[in-house]
Subunit: 359 residues, 3 copies
């Protein structure tokens, strides 16, 4: 493992992650990626520690990834699933967390359908003065930091497998396509990509990328005083009509589009987002077929991008909706499998960084 | 670990536990509590052994506690949950147990909504002449021995952290408040507390503590010939009217009250019980609000107790029903978090005591 | 472990298993059976490898058996259950499998209610050029190889505990009784028993053993060119009327009966099959009572068999339906518990054989 200083106790959001922190995660994950290619894939780092997966919202994929990461660090794991728990008996979320604390949990990996639950648990742990760390595994429409970090790791290791680091993305054009409004993955990705100096282009139908949402992002990101160059993050254009034309200006890094094409133009990477089918019921979308026609990524549409463009998706994919089925399976374009593999290494890195100070 | 003789093969009930057995559990749990404070929290005691959690009734809290206890003893664990099992295919409970026996299970931790299931499984194992031990993790309204033992450990270690032992409770006044009638926790607690020589005061509305139930307890306890002093366990008063006045007499150890106040008067410890909201539907209770007013533990009501009184609850707590929310979180009064922590140490002790003879 | 050559990468079906392969499984399982009788029951064979139980159809019994087998080989295990998974989010089965592949799974144990799913996953893994092995843990009405192998192991170790091998069954008469038509267990058993040279007698009501099914079996088995003696597998008699009389001829090895008695006559082993109660609804059966009267195995009916006949059942048993309750519990006749025990050893052997080449 790289020798490094790591002071962050909980991983709840990427909004205030520093470049040094991103780079430490990337380098640590690269070390674990190397461990995973060895004959013996386990390391004794977290032996005797307990990682509790508190999944108030069910997820097999993310839970398995964290569980495997914990096991490969030799931690003991406890799985809590809301469906079979005493949540049905009326216990509060904080009481559940405190119960797992009292049992001896060292790290809590928390997923909840409401934004802010991991933060609330972390605040309670801090208030109690205990050393337990909380890792946000997805909270409502807020953030999903480990997903954004594994996306970052996947892209950076593609560019420089041995030394993945944030600056590799400087100047790259990255499109994020789909249900931006409701996506915790998109929100976390926006933080890391903006921090890297990449040019981020969001593309979605106006119902899934309203002006209000954009202003909220920009305001938050503006507060961070992003970069020394005094870059201002501006809307691509005043969004006052539909459809919105997009425009560029040299000092902008975040662009919004109500059409797909300008986002794809010369893009280095295209991040697609999962479309929750429930959105249809809420009349935010006409039909999956029409969505695919307008915003689905196909081989033909990728012609607009840089020649060696790559496509990402956090999974699970609705084949033929967010992305055409053949493209998803084409290793020349799709990074989807790499993302899953990166997920274990990145989560090992996160558990290692917040956990190793405790033993 | 203390060197000790332990002859009990199954742990099904505390009704016939001896003082020596209580003390062995308490001392062994204290040793494990010490292990849990070390850097390396695992011991190889049960390596290669299989602990199967047969939870025919679902429980995240108790199951996690047993699972962690088993893992810290280096046992392999198997989790059986009725919901996803072949119980739905019509297999009998004994057949399920025998299947886990045949797979190589060494210890079965059994929870079932019907009283007597763990005993039936233990009897079947004995009939088959196999060495498998059965640990009752809660059976209907019968017993929940590990909960009562962790309550006992929590109280005793508070009094003497280094040498918890049964005699520490002699002469202490302990109130058990709430739905005594339906509580397996109360039943197990009554056995251990009476055995300790504590003065046990049960307080509940008459619908949740009927005369018939009290007579049944007293008769059972009487049969045990508890103590050499010839103590007779008597009702606090003939329960023939409502509300029942309570009374004291020097040779009584178990007292029943249909009001809260006499039970709290000068109490050293107050054990609150979980109120199943289903009881309301069955017209045993007027409203949660009224229940809380009459039997809920609040800071004000604790004024009746000894100054350094402590409150326990087996969890999960209905905040503002059995106990006021602020009191629950006040470490000066609440032992609720300690109980959960004790739970892992006590369950390690129980698994160790019944399991270590086998390897 | 016996030193042996093992070239099979996936275990999907017994249809093309060779005698050498059967014998290797039997001998390897015998070695693990011996390990399981030791004080330390774990071996480090698969340390660092990941066994993912992908159970798209729920099963506690088989899943626990595979999980324990994997743990005793020191593998890390991941459990996927369809109910709580992203299957509900519309992900395809192959995408789920590829996600677990990308996480680093070495062996996938797959159960699905549709025939062919494990084969499809295995084909996809091969197409991708990855080293992951797939083990069929039951697919629709197709096959359940590990169950048939544990049945084989149970019978062979009864005959020669130290050297279980396929030829021990040569000339033995084995009856398979029950819902042959829908049973994946029966299909896998037919392959192994025919391969052993045993005389296999199928007995079921005509609705559960139609002529068409029999012809299909025979055709498939015929294609294999079973044995050097040029044995032809023929129907016991032209099945063109009901009830079917049964007949014997010296060169036949597979016999079909629409009545129980001729199948039991002088049988060495009786394999009963689980009756899915759903069959009743589909009007394939009159009543469980009548089924038991005609095809249920009882002490009285066993009088027809060889004196030391043994009865098997894959579990879970409907007591009093496929087999009388007292008979099931009689160790003189019932091998049901031995089957479960054999299951862990046989599954250790299978995971070892397909897994050990990878590390």
């Amino acid at each position: 493992m790289p020798t490094t200083t790591w002071n962050r106790h909980h991983i709840l959001s990427l909004a205030d992650f520093t470049t040094a922190e991103y780079d430490t995660v990337l380098q640590t994950a690269a070390s674990f990626q190397e461990v995973l290619s060895r004959r013996t894939k386990k390391v004794p780092t977290l032996q005797g520690q307990v990682v509790a997966n508190l999944f108030f919202e069910s997820s097999t994929r993310t839970r398995s990834s964290f569980e495997l990461a914990a096991k490969r660090l030799s931690a003991d794991t406890l799985n809590f699933a809301a469906a079979t728990s005493s949540m049905t008996k009326g216990e509060t979320i904080l009481d559940t967390a405190k119960t797992y604390l009292a049992m001896g949990t060292d790290i809590m990996v928390v997923r909840h359908r409401e934004a802010g639950v991991p933060n609330a648990i972390a605040a309670e742990m801090d208030r109690l003065g205990v050393k337990v760390s909380v890792l946000n595994a997805g909270d409502g429409q807020h953030e999903h930091p480990s997903q954004a970090l594994l996306d970052l790791f996947t892209i950076c290791t593609l560019i420089d497998p041995d030394h993945p680091r944030l600056e590799l993305l400087k100047g790259k054009k990255i499109a994020i396509v789909g249900d931006i409004l409701h996506s915790r993955v998109a929100r976390s990705n926006i933080w890391s990509l903006i921090a890297s100096g990449a040019e981020v282009h969001l593309a979605a139908p106006p119902t899934l990328l309203p002006k209000l949402f954009a202003e909220y992002i920009l305001e938050e990101a503006g507060d961070r005083g992003q970069g020394a160059e005094g870059d201002k993050l501006l809307l691509a254009s005043p969004i006052s009509h539909f459809p919105s034309p997009s425009s560029h200006s040299p000092n902008q890094k975040l662009f919004l589009h109500w059409q797909l094409e300008p986002a794809l133009q010369n893009a280095d990477f295209v991040m697609t987002l999962r479309l929750q089918k429930e959105r249809m019921t809420a009349h935010l979308l006409p039909s999956l077929r029409e969505y695919h026609q307008l915003f689905g990524i196909t081989r033909a549409k990728l012609q607009l991008c840089k020649p060696n463009v790559k496509v990402l998706h956090p999974g699970p994919v609705n084949r033929g909706v967010e992305i055409s089925s053949d493209l998803m399976d084409d290793p020349e374009f799709s990074l989807i499998q790499s993302q899953v593999t990166s997920g274990v290494a990145v989560r090992m890195a996160l558990l290692y960084l917040i956990g190793s100070g405790k033993v």
